[in-house]
């Protein structure tokens, strides 16, 4: 479904600042060659990934989210007590119960906020969580919303499995959302789910169907399984249609867009989508080479880097696109705000 938000609602919404955290340990393709039957060439040729970051063994997802959140608050110049809502989007919570957001809220000192977790697969959540956070500002319920997205899939990977060990990295990202002036910020968004892809990512053991046992650990059923082939088939057309949907809703042309920041799933898929969209590749921000697929953090991490390298400019229209297992997808067109565009 596609929605035009600009000037339709009580308030407009913009991203005031971003924050990130990436795992500190670097695992290169050469490192993976030593523990599984794979090669640097195969991984790079098929995915564009050279290395990925892994968080310290003693960390949990919340530790990464807190670091990203602190950075966003600092950069946005907003005191923790000014935050009205914190949303955590992750597929890899600290604990099965309770919500990770509760812990994050306490550790960030967000005393006046309420909090909840969102589960939208992993990769698609960066746009879903953005739109959900924006909703609470658009309806006037909140002034400042902190959206935290991150996954620590390294703890759920069978590192000896060549079919899944090269793909993911650990990271977290944050958007600090605020009320934007009339005509600024989020312009339109598009969200969709195709339920036939519900099993495209799965951990088979540890739920009500298959409790975790010694046998299930022996068989590594506690590790992530992805149907990569199916997700790839879905990814390229979905990425293209998600971009086209928001373009159509806003009535702007691709040449009017400053930058597209897609989910960093696979460089080859992004290249293929750029070809179909007839989009010059320098208009697409890519950083997958350094981080791999960081799931929920992928888009905010790329956006953060794009901002820091001055690729995102005030007044420019940018498109964020996420997609992944589920199958789910989302895109958002944002007119990038300057600091003075936010209401005090």
């Amino acid at each position: 479904m596609t929605f035009l938000t600009m000037n339709q609602n009580k308030y407009n919404v913009g991203i005031m600042s971003t924050g990130v955290y990436v795992g500190e340990r670097i695992i290169t393709n050469e490192d993976l060659e030593k523990i599984s039957d794979t090669t640097d060439k195969w991984i790079y040729d098929h995915t564009g990934i050279r290395e990925r970051r892994i968080a310290d063994e003693n960390m949990a997802t919340s530790d990464m989210l807190i670091r990203a959140g602190k950075m966003a608050l600092e950069q946005g110049g907003i005191h923790p007590e000014q935050i009205d809502l914190v949303i955590v989007a992750t597929l890899t919570p600290d604990n099965i119960d309770p919500a990770t957001s509760a812990l994050v809220q306490a550790k960030l000192g967000l005393k006046n906020a309420f909090s909840f977790d969102m589960n939208v697969g992993s990769c698609p959540s960066s746009v879903y969580a953005l739109i959900t956070g924006a909703q609470f500002i658009m309806n006037g319920q909140c002034k400042h919303v902190l959206v935290l997205m991150g996954d620590m899939i390294s703890k759920l990977i069978n590192w000896n499995d060549r079919n899944s060990n090269y793909f993911f990295g650990d990271a977290a990202g944050a958007y600090l959302l605020g009320q934007a002036a009339y005509g600024k910020g989020l312009v339109a968004y598009h969200l969709g789910t195709d339920g036939t892809g519900y099993e495209s990512i799965n951990i088979h053991s540890g739920g009500s169907r298959n409790p975790c046992t010694h046998e299930s650990l022996d068989q590594r059923l506690n590790c992530v399984k992805i149907n990569g082939k199916k997700v790839k088939e879905f990814a390229v057309p979905t990425l293209c249609s998600a971009v086209n949907e928001v373009l159509q809703a806003t009535g702007i042309k691709l040449e009017d867009v400053g930058l597209i920041i897609p989910h960093q799933a696979n460089l080859r898929l992004i290249e293929e989508a750029a070809r179909i969209l007839e989009c010059p590749f320098d208009k697409i921000y890519v950083n997958i080479e350094k981080y791999g697929n960081t799931g929920a953090a992928s888009v905010p991490l790329a956006l953060h880097e794009a901002i820091k390298s001055n690729k995102v400019k005030q007044g420019q229209r940018i498109i964020l696109v996420s997609f992944g297992a589920g199958y789910q997808w989302g895109s958002a067109c944002i007119e990038w705000c300057a600091a003075e565009d936010f209401l005090k």
């Binding site: 919500a99 509760a102 309420f114 739920g207 650990l217």
Partner: protein, 344 residues
């Protein structure tokens, strides 16, 4: 009394597992003492059969709600799923699976988690979306819980309720003249995130042989709470706070709408012990018979499904009448609190 809102609950559906266990039967088997049975007041809980998992129950409840709303699945634009305790698999797109099984083609779906408060939050999200986006017609909110014996003892693990299995669903729509959602409000305090949790199974402690041997994948609030609530006074203080925060939210909302306790005909609370529900009713000048507790007696606490489950039952039982204002009240681990006012 008239309210401007025309957003409300178009239809409800529930799923109650056929099998039930009486607390009298459980008392001997689980060695539950008389004092506990008395303050709980819960007499029976329904229990899902071996192959009746959360999504199965969610689909059953949702189908009934869709049928009752006399809409086709294609008229649903958003599916919001809540399942607080335990999904079928620790990582999979269950919300997407539910969407697929219901044949809902044009929607997007996701899952939110604010523990047992999640359904109330989902109702508020739906209300907000319908209010803000003119393109949204119907939102399906569906909740389901199964307290699997492998992970919890539904009778003795928690000290504040006996847990029952089941599901409830609601279709939230515009242009509604009955069951109007007047308002909702939430409060979370993450400083209690360490009280109730499953030690292993997330990124904090990934499952291993040791955690299986020591049953650390089990939910045992009585054990995890001990270090925080080690004295009678600490426990009493904590439970007072649980009630206080709900009352504070309710008072704030009533004041906002220029209402008093006397305007509220019934309290629909989460299905906690008689002691908790009675405390809430006494603080609002209501008799226990003016609450939903009679449903808690028969079904126990069904996690995040309670509010719509109880609302459905109270409408069926003619315990509420068209035009009545009811307060909905729930709380969840983490901790989170939610209240709302619905005009029947």
């Amino acid at each position: 009394m008239k309210f401007v809102s025309d957003i409300g609950i178009k239809a409800l559906g529930i799923h109650e597992p056929v099998s039930a266990i009486s607390i009298n039967d459980a008392r001997i088997r689980e060695n539950i003492n008389e004092e506990v049975i008395n303050y709980m007041g819960i007499k029976e809980v329904h229990v899902a059969c071996k192959d009746e998992h959360p999504c199965d129950m969610a689909v059953s409840a949702a189908q009934k709600a869709i049928e009752s709303a006399r809409i086709s699945p294609d008229q649903i634009d958003i599916v919001i799923y809540t399942n607080t305790f335990l999904p079928e698999y620790p990582m999979w797109a269950d919300y997407s699976h539910i969407q697929d099984r219901l044949g809902i083609k044009n929607a997007y779906s996701f899952k939110i988690n604010q523990s047992c408060n999640s359904q109330l939050l989902a109702l508020d999200y739906a209300r907000s979306k319908l209010y803000m986006d003119s393109g949204i017609r119907n939102v399906l909110v569906v909740s389901s819980e199964r307290w699997d014996y492998n992970y919890i003892n539904r009778f003795i693990s928690a000290g504040s309720c006996f847990y029952g299995d089941g599901a409830s669903a609601a279709i939230i729509s515009k242009g509604i003249s009955e069951r109007k959602i007047i308002d909702m409000d939430f409060y979370t305090d993450g400083s209690y995130a360490g009280l109730h949790y499953i030690p292993t199974g997330g990124t904090k402690h990934a499952p291993d042989y040791n955690s299986i041997d020591n049953q650390l994948y089990r939910f045992e609030p009585r054990i995890t709470c001990k270090q925080h609530l080690d004295t009678r006074e600490a426990k009493d203080r904590f439970w007072r706070l649980i009630i206080d925060n709900n009352i504070k939210l309710l008072d704030r909302m009533l004041e906002k709408h220029k209402l008093g306790y006397c305007d509220i005909k019934k309290l629909i609370t989460y299905n906690m012990s008689k002691k908790v529900v009675k405390s809430i009713s006494e603080r609002t000048g209501k008799d226990l018979s003016e609450t939903s507790f009679y449903i808690a007696e028969q079904y126990g606490h069904i996690g995040s499904t309670d509010i719509c489950f109880n609302l459905y039952k109270m409408i069926q039982d003619e315990m509420v009448q068209p035009g009545d204002l009811v307060a909905v009240i729930s709380a969840g681990f983490g901790f989170s609190w939610g209240v709302g006012i619905i005009q029947i």
